[in-house]
């Protein structure tokens, strides 16, 4: 088991295997996401209370959900960086942090635009919205800290500690709507119960969540490859890949 774990940490091995998966991730992601969005926008019935403004949910929930799961993945990678000093874990954190920042921003933006017609306000300092804003700042902080430290190894460790410290925010985001009074409603999808909407609404939502997940997978692969190439340019395999086009 440990042998496989250490093989997983080899940048060359990752480069080869991810190149094979990437076209499938991209194609599957675009198909699922577009299917979910078109279904949600044009075919799903409108909500009895909010009318058509609820159609924002088909991008609001996927971006918010994946923005949080990226952070959980980054925190797991941070543990690997601190304990095993595995290069690939640090490459992952560095590669996906900007994607997490973009998705968190999208979740906040779509939430604000959705809040205006339904709640009557763009923004309110309730626990859910504030903790999501903290997630945005955490992503920004991770990116800034990584750029501020020149030495690759010290940057990796400092970033890993920051990511781990910030992970306490994730359960706060998730349970904020249950622990405290908030304007934001509780989650629509729960792991243990059936979703609180009919199938013709939750199936397109599930499709767009899965689609965005696959697109995130593709983005993670391509951005990690970029980072690996620039870090390993002194090695023979990168030289061969660049000059001959194969690993």
């Amino acid at each position: 088991m440990w042998q496989f774990f250490h093989k997983l940490g080899s940048p060359k091995w990752f480069f080869g295997i991810s190149t094979r998966f990437m076209p499938w991730l991209l194609a599957g992601g675009i198909v699922l996401l577009m299917a979910g969005i078109i279904w949600g926008l044009a075919f799903a019935p409108k909500d009895y209370l909010q009318g058509n403004s609820y159609r924002i949910i088909f991008i609001h929930v996927p971006t918010a959900f994946i923005a949080q799961s990226i952070y959980i993945m980054m925190a797991s990678a941070a543990i690997v960086t601190l304990v095993w000093r595995m290069k690939l874990a640090d490459v992952f954190v560095k590669a996906v942090a900007p994607v997490g920042l973009a998705l968190t921003f999208l979740a906040l933006f779509t939430g604000a635009v959705w809040g205006k017609p339904t709640w009557g306000t763009w923004w309110i300092w309730d626990a859910r919205l504030t903790s999501m804003l903290i997630l945005l700042f955490l992503y920004g902080g991770v990116i800034a800290l990584d750029r501020a430290i020149n030495d690759e190894k010290s940057a990796a460790r400092a970033v890993a500690v920051l990511v781990l410290v910030g992970v306490v925010n994730i359960p706060i985001i998730k349970y904020s709507v249950e622990w405290w009074n908030t304007l934001h409603q509780p989650a629509t999808f729960k792991l243990t119960e059936k979703p609180s909407m009919p199938a013709e609404m939750w199936v397109p939502l599930l499709l767009s969540v899965l689609g965005l997940y696959l697109i995130f997978g593709w983005l993670a692969c391509i951005r990690m490859q970029t980072e690996i190439l620039s870090r390993e340019q002194r090695t023979r395999w990168v030289r061969e890949f660049v000059l001959k086009g194969r690993v």
């Binding site: 909500d47 709640w119 409603q185 509780p186 629509t188 609180s196 909407m197 013709e200």
Partner: protein, 157 residues
């Protein structure tokens, strides 16, 4: 596992555990400030300060909305099904405002226990359904003599 790695893993886990406890205690101590609004039970029990800008939240009680015919003034009762507080407001209400619907009002509690709001926001729950389904549910629950929103989710307040 290598002993050095084991040691590092223990340190990391201790760091996480300590941090979680610290954050849990802090948020527990600040819970009254993190709560966005006071509910009617808290207000009628005197927990909410008088003449300070606060928020009150709850359901608009069925049949309690009185609209002034000459102005935008509205009066209604906000309830959490165990206590209710009278609210008055002058202004445009959000589209989702209706009897039996959740709201959060910003304003001041006066000495007579009336809440004078200067902003009313609508709060909705996590249940989404097509209008036809909602209509059918309403009909079914009317037959039983209950209101649909009350029967779907009274527990959100």
């Amino acid at each position: 596992m290598h002993p050095i790695r084991k040691k590092r893993l223990t340190i990391v886990l201790f760091l996480l555990a300590g941090l979680s406890v610290a954050v849990a205690l802090t948020t527990y101590a600040l819970r009254q400030n993190i709560n966005l609004f006071y509910d009617p039970t808290q207000i009628s029990a005197g927990e909410a300060p008088v003449d300070v800008r606060i928020r009150a939240g709850g359901m608009v009680k069925e049949g309690s909305v009185i609209r002034d015919p000459d102005s935008l003034k509205v009066e209604f009762l906000v309830t959490d099904y165990s206590a209710s507080v009278p609210v008055e407001y002058v202004g445009i209400l959000p589209d989702l405002f209706a009897e039996g619907q959740g709201i959060v009002a910003m304003g001041r509690l006066n000495t007579e226990g009336r809440f004078v709001a200067d902003q009313v926001l609508a709060k909705h729950d996590e249940n989404y359904m097509p209008p036809e389904v909602a209509g059918a549910l309403e009909k079914a629950s009317k037959a039983e003599g209950k209101s649909v929103t009350g029967s779907v989710k009274p527990a959100s307040y």
